[in-house]
């Protein structure tokens, strides 16, 4: 089937207004919380106030006696009190452990805030009051709050199988020989913090029992496939649970694991009544999941000519109290550990460890963001150690198309890193003099981030595209739209294929029962996977409609095209409207719809001993350059300029691409400078937005976005994913700029004024 070519595009690459924009701006969009049902109960979760304890007694009798309380559930009331996160390809005992979380704490709590009981009441006030009446007696158990301490055999053990839940390794060449051949060795240990996703919309859902006894939950989730998890916990057939994802107010990985849906499912199942559960901001911050803190020792060997002779790295990841996706996040970190650079001799070891801290899991950049702070700080330090320009040093070492990363991950498509770095750097413009008491510095970082799921997970996405009898088009696809414009981009792709306005297309998304399943909105995979599914279904339907029109018009299909809601003869007068075509299809028995499945290319499981092999379908590369102003007296860092440049392969919607790039940089700026979930002995000390500091409009400079299109990528028409990659280079670019300004290398995020001040003071002669 002949595809559309770039020169023919009418819609792709434009700034077509997003179809969801108007309603969001007008406040009309009905998010998960903008929904209620008659007789709805309000739920609250009773949580542990200890980070490590045995539950001696949970007495709910006083709470149950409170008028208006309709249901209280504890672990004993949960049919199958376990949630699994399958972690394929594990190398250690984790394989047997699986990633296992108790739905409600049965006899032991392992982190502060762990759910112990559920309450449903007539009003939120009553539920809140009842929460205070549940009596819980604890017997404190020794806890462990540092992953290095947790690796010690004498440390308190969170699971019988031990605290170490995952180990991965990468081996290539001979690092000893590599270091022996180096002129300079640069070694630092880097640390990154727990951070919160801080989406505008906290975890929220409303569930009810429908006419056929199906538990239906309208919930803010990135993964409607969690209907299976809810059904498994309840011991019901999968078809008895349905999840609907309305427009979501941000996910960033924080709505990738199961959140409120399982509690709502339990309470609906138990009461038969509609149930709403909304987390407060404080609950959202203290509950799973967070980004993993990483401790990363990096050792680079370089020759004076700029060759990297060896890279050795050791990662220790704090998984918190339950595994969730920690083993996978660590695997991603292994693949990304060397950055977008070639090196013959590489040795990387990673360990994920349980502690009594808040559980950690998916977060935008999924294991690619933490190493980037390490390897890009190292690249800057190496360049300075051999007195080479940091850009020139990078250019000398960027991996090229057709080569492989040191872990054996092939690089199939264009690598425009040299251009991204130069364009971002040039966009900073000429330097100005620093104001009194301030110092200016500039820094750059180039990074890679995979998109699409691991190739041996056999990812697929299905789409339904249909010509309606009135000549409009309908798309059905189970995509949750997190706010990135996922649905709108699919409509834009459809509009391109059928050459009709986006307003002539209706899309139904995010329903696990009624829309074809499209997989998770995670792993920067939706434009790639679901874009490809819609492209496939759309192009197949287009071909069928052209054939039908060919038989009606008596013109060869090859001489027909689509324009303005009709099939038209190229250079000719004959045409048939979509409406007439639809009627014609019905008369002749031709399908007016296509249900197509896009299967990502599958691959063999990697070699666990060496870490060698293909893990991901594709990679996105980009660079960011920043200018910072550092206050000499206080250590405060202000980002004065920020330029971000990516090769996105092919732009589908230019506004959405730039929006992701700007939002990613702003999020990266928070990771760099202000964001940190501070835990003391497992107790969250920054449980609100007064103490957990996300950047505001005043903290983010005007961002220059530069979009390159190599035309090469695994998505529709060569598109690549940009959602997660967009935030990855910011933190190291800022750290490198701070070094440039004041000559000290900060190795711990975030770069708070106090940390910068201490580093400057300690470095002073």
């Amino acid at each position: 089937m002949k595809d559309l070519t770039a020169s023919e595009f009418a819609m792709v690459g434009t700034r077509a207004p997003r179809r969801d924009a108007r309603d969001k701006i007008h406040g009309i969009t009905r998010y998960a919380d903008d929904f209620s049902l008659g007789g709805m109960l309000y739920a609250k979760v009773v949580r542990s106030t200890r980070a490590s304890a045995r539950l001696v007694r949970v007495d709910t009798s006083k709470a149950a006696a409170l008028p208006g309380v309709r249901c209280i559930m504890t672990a004993a009331d949960v049919p199958h009190n376990v949630l699994f996160t399958d972690v394929p390809g594990q190398t250690t005992v984790v394989g047997a452990l699986r990633a296992r979380t108790q739905v409600l704490a049965a006899d032991r709590v392992r982190y502060f805030g762990e759910p112990i009981a559920l309450i449903a009441a007539d009003t939120e006030e009553i539920a809140e009051q009842a929460r205070g009446l549940v009596e819980i007696e604890y017997e404190d158990l020794p806890g462990v709050f540092d992953p290095v301490e947790a690796m010690h055999p004498e440390a308190p053990q969170l699971e019988e199988t031990g605290n170490v839940i995952s180990r991965w390794r990468v081996r290539q060449g001979d690092v000893d020989a590599g270091f022996a051949a180096a002129d300079v060795i640069v070694e630092h240990t880097y640390q990154t913090p727990f951070i919160d996703h801080a989406f505008i919309e906290p975890e929220i859902g409303v569930g009810w029992l429908d006419e056929d006894g199906v538990i239906t939950i309208r919930v803010a989730t990135q993964v409607i496939e969690h209907f299976r998890d809810v059904a498994n916990v309840l011991g019901l057939p999968h078809s008895k649970v349905r999840l609907i994802a309305p427009f979501i107010g941000g996910g960033f990985g924080g709505k990738e694991d199961v959140t409120v849906e399982v509690y709502i499912g339990l309470l609906v199942w138990k009461t038969g009544r509609p149930v709403r559960l909304l987390y407060t901001r404080e609950e959202s911050i203290i509950t799973p999941t967070k980004r993993h803190p990483f401790r990363m020792r990096y050792k680079h060997g370089v020759r004076k000519d700029g060759t990297i002779t060896a890279i050795e790295a050791e990662f220790i990841s704090d998984a918190g109290a339950y595994a969730y996706l920690s083993p996978l996040v660590l695997l991603y970190a292994m693949v990304h550990s060397s950055g977008p650079y070639r090196c013959a001799n590489v040795k990387v070891d990673g360990t994920a460890v349980l502690t009594n801290n808040t559980p950690t899991s998916a977060f935008r950049g999924f294991g690619s963001a933490q190493p980037a702070f390490g390897y890009e700080s190292q690249m800057d330090a190496c360049a300075r150690a051999i007195s080479m320009d940091p850009l020139a040093f990078r250019e000398r070492n960027y991996v090229c198309k057709g080569e492989s990363l040191p872990c054996g991950q092939p690089v199939d498509h264009a690598v425009l890193l040299t251009e991204t770095a130069r364009r971002a750097w040039e966009a900073l413009g000429p330097s100005c003099a620093a104001p009194p008491g301030k110092r200016l510095g500039r820094g750059i970082a180039s990074t890679l981030t995979s998109f699409g799921r691991i190739v041996w997970l056999h990812d697929w996405s299905a789409a339904w595209v249909e010509l309606q009898m009135d000549g409009t088009i309908m798309v059905r696809i189970g995509v949750p739209d997190l706010g990135g414009g996922q649905a709108s981009s699919l409509v834009q792709i459809t509009a391109e294929i059928f050459r009709i306005p986006m307003s002539s297309i209706t899309i139904h998304i995010g329903d696990s029962s009624l829309t074809p399943l499209a997989g998770t909105t995670t792993a920067t995979r939706q434009l790639y996977m679901s874009g490809s599914a819609v492209h496939k279904a759309g192009m197949e339907l287009r071909a069928g409609l052209l054939e039908q029109a060919s038989s009606v018009l008596g013109v060869p299909a090859a001489a027909l095209t689509m324009d303005g809601g009709a099939v038209v003869q190229v250079d000719g007068a004959k045409r048939i409207s979509f409406q007439e075509l639809a009627a014609s299809c019905s008369r002749s028995g031709r399908e007016r719809y296509r249900h197509s499945v896009f299967h990502a290319p599958a691959g063999k499981v990697m070699d666990f001993e060496t870490g060698q092999g293909r893990v991901f379908p594709d990679l996105t590369f980009g660079s960011q350059a920043v200018e910072v102003e550092v206050d000499e007296a206080t250590g405060a860092v202000r980002v004065t300029k920020l330029a971000t440049c990516y090769d996105v392969g092919r732009v589908i919607n230019r506004n959405s691409v730039e929006g992701q790039m700007e939002g990613g940089a702003a999020m990266g700026l928070g990771y760099a400078l202000t964001e940190e979930d501070i835990l003391e002995q497992g107790v969250p000390r920054t449980p609100n937005l007064m103490t957990y500091l996300i950047p505001t409009a005043l903290d983010v400079p005007d961002i220059t976005t530069i979009v390159l299109e190599s035309g090469e990528g695994s998505g529709p028409w060569g598109a690549r994913g940009i959602g997660e990659p967009a935030m990855v280079p910011t933190a190291p670019a800022i750290a490198n700029a701070v070094y440039d300004a004041v000559g000290v290398r900060l190795t711990q995020l975030p770069l708070t004024p106090e940390r910068v001040w201490r580093a400057m003071r300690d470095a002073a002669p």
């Binding site: 006030e125 008491g437 206080t634 202000t674 500091l693 505001t696 004024p753 106090e754």
Partner: protein, 288 residues
């Protein structure tokens, strides 16, 4: 979630006072609500009645009278920030308004609310103490005026008695021309002070005069660093002397360690900010 609480919109100051009198300790005044609503939500305060004074024009005026500027307690931070007299004569106060919280909060929060809440890091206590402000307290028995320093008893403690409300802030219009306000926050929008300071002074024949140095978030309540002031008062000004004064201010601080910074850092920042404040205030005084 906000608890249920009764609510009355006061028709005037007299009405508000009568309601306070009738309901005693169970009543709380609601102005901007930017502190109070958070306290209610967090269950730090459980009043039976909210008396809304946010719509009272008589509390929202700024007027010059008898050689003083009278700023109504209900003046919002946004209005304070834009007032021409405040900008011209009390730049330290205008600067504090400029860096107060964020746009949305400034539109709601009031000067009186910030003072009456008396947080250790309250932004306006710092410049107002340095400007020798007084406050007028309204009560059924009549108004009384007390120096701000005596109004402020401790962290979240003021001289406001039961049945009283803060009517206005009174600023003598003979304030020194040299004024500076410095605030260190962890971000630019919506930041709470790690430390802050105000420096107010005249320069006469190269010597400091009427020097006030006030520190915020450096002790349980904002306070004047008198030893630092004395190092400049009547003394020939120099960079060395400014640094000595800053060091004395740091020595007088009693900072705590919390999620915003260690005590050690706060003390060092007091010195840095006071030094910066002295330089700026001195330059402004010399310019005038």
């Amino acid at each position: 979630m906000l608890p249920h609480v009764d609510y009355v919109r006061a028709e005037g100051v007299a009405h508000a006072l009568a309601l306070l009198d009738r309901h005693g300790a169970g009543a709380r005044l609601l102005a901007g609500g930017t502190d109070l609503l958070v306290d209610l939500r967090e269950r730090r305060s459980a009043p039976a009645l909210l008396v809304d004074i946010s719509e009272l024009d008589e509390l929202a005026a700024i007027r010059a009278e008898d050689g003083a500027l009278h700023i109504g307690a209900g003046v919002t931070v946004a209005a304070l920030r834009e007032d021409a007299t405040v900008q011209a004569e009390f730049p330290a106060l205008a600067e504090a308004a400029r860096w107060f919280a964020d746009y949305l909060t400034r539109n709601k929060a009031t000067l009186g609310g910030n003072l009456a809440n008396a947080s250790p890091g309250a932004d306006f206590l710092v410049p107002l103490l340095a400007l020798d402000a007084a406050v007028t307290i309204a009560a059924a028995a009549g108004d009384r005026t007390v120096p701000l320093d005596q109004f402020l008893l401790g962290p979240r403690q003021t001289a406001l008695g039961r049945g009283e409300l803060l009517r206005e802030v009174v600023l003598p219009r003979s304030a020194p021309a040299g004024q500076a306000y410095e605030k260190l926050g962890l971000k630019h929008g919506g930041a709470i002070a790690v430390v802050s300071c105000a420096v107010v002074m005249d320069v006469r024949a190269g010597r400091g005069a009427r020097v006030r140095i006030v520190l915020g978030a450096a002790a349980p309540r904002p306070f004047r660093a008198r030893a630092a002031e004395e190092r400049l008062e009547g003394q020939p000004l120099s960079a060395e002397r400014a640094e000595q004064a800053a060091a004395l201010a740091a020595g007088a601080a009693q900072p705590i360690s919390d999620v915003r910074g260690s005590a050690e850092y706060r003390r060092a920042m007091v010195q840095a900010l006071v030094r910066r404040g002295i330089d700026a205030a001195q330059a402004a005084a010399v310019r005038s």
